[in-house]
């Protein structure tokens, strides 16, 4: 929800160089931008949340420790519900994905900040980590038998030429749906907030109406920030389960 004072509701998504300082346009691979800043902030905040929260390791947890333990048990429960006991090995990556996306979404809710999960390249890269990892996992575990995944069980052989391409396309579109879902939710939510916030000044006294709407939508966006991180994590778990058990 970056109120940069610009006229376009999309201006909040622009990448600006912080180091070296300068106007956007000349952004190299190693340029430290507003996007990099939020990523580093997420990294630092998550580490602080988990490590400082647990630093006392008390038997009876305090508030921060309770939160850290709660997030741990939330993802641990998610994995054991969807994958089962074998899923424990993939706990770190699912937990990292969940925390990184959650903090990315929540940091974006701060005024004037940047939402790195509203960039398709970031969400697509995260989805690709899951997709490639899961595919390697499945081939390593099942070998060539992995390709039976594309044949729906019980389908008559006559239907295979039709069903196999559908299954393959459905499999290949997983990273796209995974990344576009997160990206589109963040993009739409933040754009909507910006557009409605733009009416506040224009309507004068009646600006109270869009203002109330923005407050309500901000609450909704915080809910969506949690929800999308959860959806990304649970789909990752389901894909891991597919890779381990095929059908």
């Amino acid at each position: 929800m970056a109120e940069t004072g610009g006229h376009s509701p999309l201006e909040q998504f622009e990448i600006n160089s912080i180091f070296p300082p300068g106007d956007h346009g000349e952004v190299g691979a190693f340029t430290f931008t507003n996007s990099s800043l939020t990523m580093v902030a997420a990294l630092v905040l998550i580490s602080a949340f988990l490590i400082l929260g647990m630093r006392r390791g008390a038997l009876v947890p305090g508030r921060m420790q309770s939160l850290a333990e709660m997030s741990y048990e939330f993802i641990a429960g998610l994995i054991s519900d969807t994958v089962g006991a074998e899923g424990r090995r993939y706990f770190p990556i699912v937990f990292t994905l969940f925390m990184f996306i959650l903090f990315g979404n929540l940091l974006g809710m701060l005024p004037y900040s940047f939402t790195f999960t509203s960039h398709i390249i970031v969400t697509f890269a995260l989805a690709l980590i899951v997709f490639i990892g899961v595919t390697i996992l499945a081939i390593a575990k099942h070998g060539l038998h992995f390709f039976s995944f594309f044949v729906p069980p019980g389908a008559p052989i006559a239907m295979w030429p039709l069903l196999i391409p559908i299954e393959v396309i459905s499999y290949l579109s997983r990273p796209i749906s995974l990344s576009v879902r997160l990206f589109a939710n963040m993009l739409a939510g933040h754009t909507l907030l910006k557009v409605i916030a733009g009416f506040i000044g224009l309507l004068g006294v009646f600006g109270i109406l869009p203002f109330a709407l923005v407050v309500a939508l901000t609450g909704l966006e915080i809910l969506i920030a949690f929800l999308q991180a959860y959806v990304f994590a649970i789909l990752t778990c389901l894909y891991i389960n597919d890779a381990l058990h095929l059908h």
């Binding site: 190299g28 931008t33 990099s36 008390a58 990292t96």
Partner: protein
């Protein structure tokens, strides 16, 4: 839309790789084992405490059973002692009441004997008095001076039936 400008992709991918990679390492190597240790320690402590509580409960139950046993014993011995005391007291009471009855009986007999003696003494005294009165009355009434033996015999025959 700035998202679709490929010029800003490389920087995001680079910084994503760095931050996500470092975060993964921190979470995998530091954060999660730490939390798991704490949770495990807590579980262990809970199990320990539960076990200790179970042991203590068993101990308490043994002590309670022992106490119950001792209480029952004490009750039984108290009951026996009470019974014994009661029996002794009953026997003693009986003995005393027998003794009392005997003494009373003896005293009654003695009293009766005394009464009888007194009575016969009184009657004897009465006889002589009556004889004197009879003699005097006879003399006064009919002017006959009755013989002492005669009067005594008459009084004796009259009073003899009353004796």
């Amino acid at each position: 839309m700035p998202q679709l400008d490929p010029a800003v992709w490389s920087t995001q991918l680079f910084w994503l790789a760095i931050t996500f990679g470092v975060l993964y390492l921190i979470i995998w190597r530091v954060a999660l084992p730490r939390i798991a240790d704490v949770l495990e320690a807590r579980q262990r402590k809970l199990d320990d405490d539960l076990k200790k509580a179970t042991a203590l409960k068993e101990e308490a139950e043994t002590i309670l059973a022992e106490y119950e046993r001792m209480r029952a014993n004490a009750q039984a011995s108290a009951h026996a002692a009470l019974q014994k005391a009661q029996n002794e007291m009953k026997a003693e009471a009986e003995r005393q009441s027998h003794a009392l009855a005997a003494r009373l009986g003896k005293q009654t007999d003695e009293a009766e004997a005394r009464i009888a003696a007194a009575k016969s003494a009184a009657i004897a005294g009465l006889e002589s008095t009556v004889s004197e009165v009879v003699a005097a009355a006879t003399e006064k009434l009919i002017g006959v001076k009755a013989g002492e033996q005669e009067v005594a015999r008459a009084v004796g025959s009259v009073m003899g039936g009353k004796r």
